[in-house]
């Protein structure tokens, strides 16, 4: 994808709370028309960063620039936002909810057009409190799109959705991407990030610990393939082999760029290979490799 001018620039962002530094010197730029993913474990500072970028939360220091300007009226008019959790006004139908937000912007799309884009036409007259989780997210996406935004913020948009609803949501986001909208996405789902993002930044402890295109990061951090073996079948003595081992919950993973040599080493050490699986490394491997496997409190 050709490099374009950044639509958003984040400069040395810091957000300090009395007992914790939620964001600690984060800087990056988002080129126009790309999908930028912010990944990280719980408490990494993703939502704080995205809320500062949305202009909802003031930073302790640092700044966010939209098209070279400080966030202001133009940004509010041209940004679409889908929060992690949003309640809508009670007793409004789907159509009325979208129309309410359409009325808050100078320019935007026709309400019917937005409803159609988010597959909500048949639900237009339904009370917004009577929607399923997937339908609710589609409505919130419709509201985020109602001003035909140049930049769209999606904060964990598919958390809690079933696999069908999630895939349906991804299709919607891909159709938005196809219209050259800039998307800022935070997610816990690595599959989602790998599918949708042109560039990702992995955060931990309020800092960015890796940034780049997903495939480029995988190439930088991982060899070609991962070998997976059931933990109970992996002899303790084999742990001393000169291999790069990764402990997963129920399995041992071996990262290697020399598949033949690694297989030979394992056979010589009499490691049972009947349940061996070989697969390429993915973003989840990268995420766990960079942020560790310990549960975050």
């Amino acid at each position: 994808m050709p490099e374009s001018a950044p639509i958003l620039e984040v400069h040395n962002l810091v957000k300090q709370y009395p007992s914790v530094s939620a964001v600690d010197g984060v800087s990056f730029a988002v080129p126009e028309g790309t999908c930028f993913g912010l990944l990280g474990p719980n408490g990494a500072g993703k939502t704080t960063t995205i809320e500062i970028m949305e202009g909802i939360l003031p930073p302790t220091s640092g700044e966010v620039r939209y098209r070279g300007e400080r966030l202001g009226a133009r940004f509010r008019e041209q940004a679409g936002i889908l929060f992690q959790k949003t309640a809508l006004q009670d007793f409004l139908t789907v159509r009325q909810s979208v129309a309410l937000f359409r009325g808050l912007y100078e320019r935007g799309l026709d309400v019917d057009e937005v409803l159609a884009a988010c597959a909500l036409e048949k639900l237009a007259k339904r009370d917004n409190r009577k929607l399923s989780g997937g339908q609710q997210q589609r409505l919130l996406l419709a509201i985020a799109l109602v001003n035909d935004p140049k930049v769209l913020f999606l904060d964990e948009p598919t958390t809690g959705l079933d696999p069908q609803a999630r895939r349906n949501f991804w299709e919607l986001v891909e159709s938005i991407k196809a219209r050259r909208k800039t998307i800022i996405l935070t997610t816990h789902y690595m599959e989602e990030a790998q599918l949708l993002c042109d560039e990702i930044a992995i955060m931990d402890g309020g800092r960015i610990i890796a940034q780049g295109a997903p495939q480029k990061l995988l190439r930088e951090h991982f060899a070609e393939v991962l070998l997976e073996l059931p933990r109970q079948e992996f002899p303790e003595a084999a742990r001393r082999l000169p291999l790069k081992l990764i402990d997963a919950s129920d399995r041992i993973e071996i990262s290697t760029d020399d598949l033949d040599g690694t297989l030979r080493t394992l056979m010589e050490a009499h490691v049972p290979l009947q349940n061996l699986r070989i697969r390429p490394a993915n973003l989840e491997d990268l995420f766990l490799d960079l942020t560790g496997k310990d549960l975050r409190t």
């Binding site: 949305e54 202009g55 909802i56 009226a73 509010r76 008019e77 940004a79 936002i81 929060f83 959790k85 949003t86 309640a87 809508l88 006004q89 937000f101 808050l104 912007y105 100078e106 509201i143 001003n147």
Partner: protein, 335 residues
């Protein structure tokens, strides 16, 4: 069952104790109420009846009626003022002790009826004088107060809790992500509530008016103007409370702290003529007092725009002050 009950009881107590603003308010409220009630109702026993005495020096008259207990005698400078106060039931009786004792009583006033008996018992020669003009029944005097009180509750609670609910649910945070400003949001809330209150007030005015056969002595358009500006002021007052806080208990407590003194001191149920100066001064601060004073002047005396202008100016000024303060202190999100 006890274990479950205790678990929920304990969790609720923790929630309450950790909600610092609410806890502080809950502890300070009873202290404030005790001090306030002490000031208002403390001191010597309060009189049951209020009698106006023509002249400037009440103590100059040695009539035996002056010895009646639980009766407050207040000086009334001239007959016209005294008669107006009798007809409006601001005093129960007007007496002229000079020469032969004469008195004026509102025959629709229950307290006037009793205090008249006391006067005749003390001085059988006292002569009743006709009350010129229409004596105003208590229900007519009460009517503007009831309308005003209904407006007050609808303004303060109707707006305060709605904004609080929006903030707690995150709906305000979502609105904050749009070009909508705090002033625009608050103004929209004010106008929405205003239309509702005006509709309800008009229905109440027409409905109750028909039942008690009430006809306003003054312009109905002027009454509508009082209702509009008075509602604006009280809605804006409710918004100043809801602008910042996120606890239902705290907001509920603060709203009660505003509504109860207004209900008692704004002259809804009884006139506060004769109350200590500072009580009257406090009452004059309340928007509801200004609404009721202006409404009574129009509805009962047929007052015109000029006479109620000070009330309207006060209500308009407080609307602007409350709205400005509300917009300044407004918080979109929970923190």
């Amino acid at each position: 069952m006890i274990r479950r009950l205790l678990a929920v009881w304990h969790a609720r107590n923790l929630e309450f104790v950790r909600d610092r603003p609410t806890l502080l308010f809950t502890l300070l409220l009873p202290v404030g109420v005790v001090i306030g009630m002490g000031f208002i109702f403390g001191g010597p026993p309060r009189p049951l009846f209020k009698v106006g005495v023509l002249g400037t020096d009440v103590s100059a008259h040695a009539n035996p009626f002056r010895a009646e207990r639980y009766t407050q005698f207040v000086a009334v400078e001239d007959e016209a003022t005294g008669l107006s106060e009798v007809t409006h039931q601001e005093i129960d009786l007007l007496v002229d002790f000079d020469g032969g004792v004469r008195y004026w009583v509102n025959t629709d006033s229950p307290k006037g009826y009793i205090v008249e008996k006391l006067l005749i018992a003390a001085d059988p020669g006292a002569r009743r004088q006709p009350v010129t003009g229409q004596a105003i029944p208590y229900i007519n005097w009460l009517f503007p107060g009831i309308l005003g009180m209904n407006m007050m509750f609808s303004c303060l609670f109707g707006v305060g809790y709605v904004v609080l609910r929006y903030r707690k649910s995150g709906f305000l945070k979502r609105l904050h992500a749009t070009p909508l400003s705090a002033f625009e949001f608050l103004t929209a809330q004010v106008l929405s509530r205003l239309s509702l209150i005006l509709f309800v007030t008009v229905v109440l005015y027409a409905g109750i008016g028909a039942i008690i056969h009430f006809h306003s002595a003054g312009s109905v358009a002027l009454l509508l103007l009082i209702a509009v500006i008075g509602s604006l002021s009280m809605i804006a007052l409710g918004l100043t409370i809801a602008a910042r806080f996120a606890s239902e208990e705290l907001v509920g407590g603060l709203l009660n702290l505003l509504t109860w003194p207004m209900m008692l001191l704004s002259g809804v149920w009884f006139s506060i003529e004769g109350s200590p100066r500072w009580v009257q001064w406090v009452a004059d601060i309340f928007p509801l007092t200004q609404v009721i004073q202006a409404a009574r002047a129009v509805m009962l005396d047929g007052a015109g725009f000029q006479r109620i202008t000070p009330n309207l100016i006060y209500l308009a000024a407080t609307t602007l002050v409350f709205l400005a303060f509300g917009a300044w202190s407004f918080r979109w999100r929970l923190d």
